[in-house]
């Protein structure tokens, strides 16, 4: 089951986060899913870590604290405030599946960040509920068979980098280690009483990414993004 964020919902959440950001002098605020993915955000986090890493860490911190609280017998669904001389951080759960992250500016007061954030919790919980409903909806099948299209020049360029048949079909030389494994695997004796192996051991993805009548193949998404390969 996937989360489908429509334009309308994204705009609504961003508007709410924008209002919160103004009210509480925030540097950054975000609605994050429980799996650590940013649903919508406003502002930028300072430093080089990036918003995605901050969201992942914040999610882990909040839900780990909740788990700790539940082990200690504390059942209240309270937020988590990290006070600091600069940039206070406040995390608040929005139901079981989402959370709010508020990062104050250098001059923001920790208490005010918390109060302002809590004021917006109900409004954001409404969006979180809508997201849950959207998540439960199955996407409608298209009327006609649809082939994968590369709609823009940007996409064409990106796909040519990734789905370059010529580049991906060039076999890299097999390492000595890999060669040694092969020898070991084929010559090592099956211990007495063990059944013969059934599973196929793959050494590489089977084929480069191509598009077929059955749809695209996504077999070398990461290999083609390696340093020096593109």
């Amino acid at each position: 089951m996937d989360i489908h964020l429509t334009s309308e919902l994204a705009d609504g959440i961003e508007a709410a986060l924008g209002d919160l950001s103004k009210d509480a002098s925030l540097e950054y605020c975000a609605l994050i899913s429980a799996c650590g993915t940013i649903v919508a955000d406003v502002g930028r986090v300072p430093g080089t870590g990036g918003e995605a890493a901050v969201a992942a860490l914040a999610t882990g911190a909040l839900f780990a604290t909740q788990k700790l609280a539940s082990i200690l017998g504390q059942d209240e669904d309270e937020g988590l405030l990290k006070e600091d001389a600069k940039r206070p951080l406040y995390l608040h759960p929005l139901g079981a599946d989402y959370l709010l992250l508020s990062l104050g500016s250098e001059t923001a007061e920790a208490g005010l960040v918390r109060i302002a954030s809590r004021r917006f919790v109900r409004r954001l919980q409404g969006f979180a509920k809508e997201l849950c409903i959207a998540t439960e909806m199955e996407p409608e099948p298209p009327q006609q068979p649809v082939v994968v299209n590369v709609p823009t020049r940007v996409a064409e360029r990106d796909l040519s980098l990734i789905f370059d048949d010529e580049a991906s079909s060039q076999e890299r030389p097999e390492s000595k280690i890999a060669a040694a494994f092969r020898t070991d695997s084929t010559t090592s004796r099956i211990p007495d009483g063990w059944p013969a192996p059934q599973a196929e051991v793959l050494r590489r993805p089977q084929k480069s990414a191509t598009e077929t009548n059955d749809g695209p193949s996504f077999s070398s998404v990461f290999s083609t993004a390696l340093l020096g390969d593109s």
Binding site: S7, G36, T48, G49, A56, V150, P151, S175, V221
Partner: protein, 225 residues
């Protein structure tokens, strides 16, 4: 649970590395971080103790392909291997789109590998993730060790059930089959996602919801990106 942002044309997937303590999960992530081009990956966030054990999790995000006009992002997590961190592991598997199980090939670590494998399956169930079709790839790491158990032995232990998982022999420290393992799970995730959303993601011009687009596909692919 992929997040599909139709406005910003982004799809985000979560992949989790599970496995026995000190089996090479963090080494996998570190190898990927080292080998991927700077412009497609973020910083590697790692929380390890002095003994190299992961305390909470390691995290790396990667922007890869553009599919059907949507950019795909992958969030890669490792879970802590030690048994006392099971609550953290369960938490991190929440919303996962695929899992790579990293088994330590050392002959003496098979029991620990098996315990970790069964715990992972239980944690997936606890997160309402159904094991029969969920993307799982096995990686037999540390194949360069002289004490490595035979591959067919490991296959028997981890892959002799009704469902056969794709399996890779690897050496994360030497970058052998690390990216290939990740490619394999990514391939399954993207193919399943593609099947779930017939024709891939329906592409609509900015500001128009996919459901409102007539004849989604060839005619409805213009974008301002």
């Amino acid at each position: 649970m992929a997040l599909v942002n139709h406005r910003d044309r982004e799809v985000t997937f979560k992949i989790v590395y599970c496995g026995t303590p000190l089996g090479g999960k963090t080494s996998n992530l570190s190898a990927i971080h080292t080998r991927l081009a700077d412009n497609v990956r973020g910083d590697l966030i790692s929380m390890a103790t002095g003994s190299d054990s992961t305390v909470f999790f390691d995290y790396l995000h990667v922007n890869t392909v553009v599919i059907n006009g949507y950019s795909t992002k992958f969030q890669l997590y490792t879970v802590p291997g030690q048994s006392q961190y099971n609550a953290t592991r369960q938490l991190l598997l929440r919303g996962a789109d695929g899992v790579i199980f990293v088994a330590d090939s050392h002959g003496e670590r098979m029991e620990e590998n098996l315990a970790a494998f069964h715990t992972m399956m239980r944690n997936l169930e606890a997160n309402s993730i159904r094991g029969e079709s969920f993307p799982i790839v096995l990686q037999y790491n540390k194949r360069d060790l002289p004490e490595a158990a035979p591959v067919h032995h490991m296959d028997f232990l981890f892959n002799s059930g009704d469902r056969k998982f794709p399996t890779f022999e690897a050496s994360a420290l030497q970058y052998v089959n690390v990216v290939e393992t990740l490619d394999a799970v990514t391939q399954i995730i993207l193919e399943q996602f593609h099947q779930k959303t017939p024709g891939g993601i329906q592409v609509a011009p900015r500001g128009v919801q996919p459901a409102q687009t007539e004849g989604a596909g060839a005619e409805a692919t213009s974008t301002s990106n």
